[in-house]
């Protein structure tokens, strides 16, 4: 056997041999929090064993070791982001054509996510972006962010392509920056609130000027 099929999702396929004693989704979830807390580099296999309750050799066999588990974690995390934080941008909000409202809802979720008392500061992807831990996840995150903002601005009736692109780009980089600030300030709600409010105010001005 050359390659090991990574434990994708939890599937009780009629497996031969000893069955898994863990739930793959739970393990990945635990890994997300472990990597979240300390970053890819600083998280040791021991930390992951503690967090998941699964032995390193099993983590290696089933997920491909530290790197493989991290990639499973970022992949799942991106899915969570897509259906959570980014949902207003990507799916369109309750109000069909209110692109500005979608952006404001997105920013509101961003603030909640970064300042919630139970939250770990920052974003799993952005936290390790500079370290280059998972370049593909980083790129997907940036694409999702900027494309979602562009689409929302289009929905908002922003028809000048230049201005739409400018503002999507600026908001996107600003979101990355706020994530970074969240990480460095250890989730300081005052600081993050101030910065997200700045974005919200500015988007509000765009909306007001558009009417």
């Amino acid at each position: 056997m050359v390659q090991k099929a990574s434990a994708t999702s939890n599937s009780a396929s009629k497996g031969r041999g000893r069955p898994r004693q863990f739930d793959a989704d739970q393990v990945i979830n635990a890994a997300i929090w472990a990597f979240f807390a300390k970053g890819f580099e600083a998280t040791t296999l021991g930390d992951l064993e503690d967090a998941t309750g699964v032995d390193r050799s099993t983590l290696y066999n089933s997920f491909g070791g530290k790197r493989g588990l991290y990639e499973s974690a970022t992949s799942t995390y991106l899915d969570l982001a897509r259906t959570g934080l980014f949902a207003p941008l990507l799916g369109g909000g309750p109000d069909e054509n209110d692109g500005y409202g979608d952006i404001l809802e997105f920013l509101d979720r961003l603030r909640s996510g970064l300042t919630s008392a139970t939250a770990i500061p920052g974003c799993l992807i952005v936290n390790d972006m500079a370290a280059g831990a998972d370049p593909r996840a980083a790129q997907r995150y940036r694409e999702m962010l900027e494309e979602g903002l562009t689409a929302a601005l289009a929905r908002a009736g922003e028809n000048d392509p230049q201005r739409r692109s400018d503002r999507a780009g600026m908001l996107a980089t600003s979101v990355l920056g706020v994530n970074l600030v969240s990480k460095t300030t250890d989730g300081d709600a005052r600081e993050i609130g101030r910065l997200v409010d700045a974005m919200i105010d500015e988007v509000g001005r765009w909306r007001a000027a558009a009417t």
Copy 2:
């Protein structure tokens, strides 16, 4: 002797004992590039020996080891940033009251710094910001950035404090984000140019609306 005076600058004080065989400024400069290239964590003492040409025991005695050398590097780097990249914001440009011009000049320098063929991607401080390598340097960097932008906007005649604060905050986070993108895209000039241009365009709109 309890504490070692770190080799601050290059001073040929009439020292007793064997004189230093290195130039402290050159060593710090070399260290900046070494840390720039791989980040604080991934840079080993061996890398620093190679980059500086100085033995690890000397680095330890004179700079306080890896951490001390890193802090010397970030300190010097911040000074360089203050007198280079940030100069238009902090000192006021050639035109006395042209705050918008100062911001545009700053953004132009930002692009040059991030895309120059000889440059290392990103910014020494921002690259390691998420990892928390030097929280004080990170905070000083953010303060310098946001205070400079706020001052420039004030010079530009932006008198609404709310709008001034909003736009300084948004630009500041956006600058952090662009640095991050520069790092992750390995200094992709097209990508960075696009994002910095977005900021430049938007600032240009502020200026146009202010007249």
